[in-house]
């Protein structure tokens, strides 16, 4: 277990160093959530889509979760890239638990997502969104972002291990992103969804992530309590890391 934790942090450390050496990608990723809040949010704030709420307040946690989803869901392409190069072969030839390789990479994807949280809070402040600035809430949001990132990037890694080529992976990524986004409470509440979509959204981990973020960021009581939201994401992530650990070694075959 100690070995697993240590190696997970080794992988995460070096992935994080890569971001420090070349932050271009992390900076470019900040543009998309900014556009959603500054353009989409500004327009939809006029519609009074969510009764009793300022729409921008409602949407901000959803956009953070959506940004995490969009960043993480294509993480698997890096796995295929590393496989094509030969790095994966070398990692697998070291005495490192496979699950540590998977979780280490997922954790670093979480670290990569933290700048998204920063930019969203900055824009939220500029747009006078009523976000809670309590340090404990901010910490809770960071944990939720990292957890969400671990879940979706491991999901992405599993897809990469199954489809194995970049072309197929890109197709799968495009296919999954929008349904996951639309079948969640990111930009509209579950209550206004048609019943069939409500059923799907309750099986969507993104919904629980947003539920928790909405409570932590704007204080709106969710469908579940915060610990249930954390618990569901954590449980689902553990299951995926375990499956990812089994499939990761097969990516080279």
């Amino acid at each position: 277990m100690l070995q697993f934790i240590r190696k997970t942090f080794v992988i995460a450390e070096f992935e994080t160093r890569k971001i420090i050496h070349d932050p271009t990608e992390a900076l470019m990723r900040m543009v998309q959530p900014a556009l959603w809040l500054l353009i989409f949010g500004q327009v939809f704030a006029r519609t009074h889509l969510v009764p009793g709420h300022n729409y921008l307040d409602f949407m901000t946690p959803g956009i953070l979760a959506q940004s995490v989803l969009f960043v993480s869901i294509f993480y698997g392409i890096a796995v295929i890239w590393e496989r094509d190069l030969g790095l994966t072969h070398k990692f697998l030839a070291t005495p490192t638990p496979r699950t540590a390789l998977v979780l280490g990479k997922a954790l670093s994807a979480g670290v990569r997502s933290l700048p998204l949280m920063v930019i969203i809070y900055i824009i939220a402040a500029l747009l006078k969104v009523n976000v809670i600035w309590n340090p404990l809430n901010l910490l809770g949001v960071a944990v939720m972002v990292i957890l969400g990132c671990i879940f979706f990037s491991t999901f992405s890694l599993i897809i990469a291990c199954l489809v194995k080529t970049r072309e197929r992976f890109m197709g799968m990524g495009q296919l999954l992103t929008m349904p996951l986004f639309f079948a969640s409470n990111a930009i509209y509440p579950i209550a206004i969804m048609p019943p069939w979509l409500q059923v799907i959204s309750t099986g969507n981990p993104l919904t629980y992530m947003i539920d928790g973020l909405r409570f932590l960021m704007i204080g709106e009581k969710g469908h579940l309590n915060l610990f249930a939201d954390y618990g569901i994401l954590l449980g689902a992530s553990v299951a995926l890391v375990f499956i990812g650990g089994i499939l990761y070694r097969k990516v080279i075959i």
């Binding site: 050496h21 094509d84 030969g86 790095l87 070398k90 030839a93 070291t94």
Partner: protein
């Protein structure tokens, strides 16, 4: 004996990539697996480095079975794949430190070991630079450094000098010879280059279609043709009954070209 293969077999559906391979390699020996593309050389190395599970048979390295003691085997060997296995964004030092940590080198010794290994491979000065600025030969030396930082008993190299220019190739050969001399490391390499096998290895084995067709010292294999001035390439063609060109397929050509492109 440090490596023992016992009827090692790998099948991919109906295709038998490695067919009941049995051989032993002694400690400190440099051994080359030669064969045309698709002969099964890389599959053998992948099985011995625990990347691929065998379909049947077994092999042991340093007394550890690749099936039942896979993790111990991983700590005993080093592996240099043919493809790029360093990260261009990180510096040479960081690339090496990453593997020093993954190979469980104790924290007290780690820095010194990384410095020693960089020095051994002639990369001390370049170690602070991002690897994307390295030449092909330097990249290959760093890849070898990553695989020897834990002082493995056995080093596997898959076509270590493919795509390198003659000078860089010679430097890599010199370092491998020094590694064998200084640390008594057993080396198993696959190659297309007869000159490489002839220069570096005390024994070579020819593989064809997954089977071992001939094995022995390079001189022995040359002499076995009973032909004046026979080269290792003559012996290779004689035993495998194929030319190097005839057996290439799209996948292997694409892989070789990629390697050549990135180190060239």
């Amino acid at each position: 004996m440090i490596i023992e293969l016992k009827q090692l077999t790998k099948k991919f559906k109906e295709f038998t990539a490695v067919d009941s391979l049995t051989l032993t390699i002694e400690k400190g020996e440099a051994f080359a697996l030669l064969g045309p593309n698709g002969a099964g050389k890389t599959t053998v190395v992948k099985m011995l480095t625990t990347l691929l599970p065998p379909t049947s048979g077994d092999a042991s390295i340093g007394g550890f079975s690749i099936i039942t003691d896979a993790n111990k085997v991983r700590g005993t060997v080093g592996y240099v794949p043919q493809m790029l296995s360093v990260d261009g964004t990180l510096t040479g030092y960081e690339n090496l430190m990453l593997f020093a940590k993954l190979y469980d080198i104790p924290s007290k010794e780690r820095k010194q070991r990384v410095h020693d290994t960089l020095e051994f491979m002639g990369l001390t000065e370049a170690s602070v630079k991002a690897v994307k600025t390295y030449s092909g030969g330097m990249i290959r030396r760093l890849e070898i450094a990553q695989s020897i930082v834990h002082r493995p008993q056995v080093l596997f190299l898959d076509e270590p000098t493919t795509g390198l220019d003659p000078i860089a190739r010679k430097v890599v050969w010199e370092h491998l010879a020094e590694l064998k001399k200084q640390y008594d490391t057993t080396i198993l390499l696959t190659t297309h280059m007869m000159e490489e096998a002839d220069n570096l290895c005390s024994r070579v084995a020819f593989m064809s279609r997954g089977k071992l067709v001939a094995m022995g010292a390079p001189e022995f294999l040359k002499n076995s043709l009973h032909k004046e001035n026979a080269s290792l390439e003559d012996a290779f063609i004689h035993y495998t009954s194929e030319t190097l060109e005839s057996s290439d397929n799209f996948r292997s050509i694409s892989r070789d070209r990629k390697t050549e492109q990135r180190v060239g």
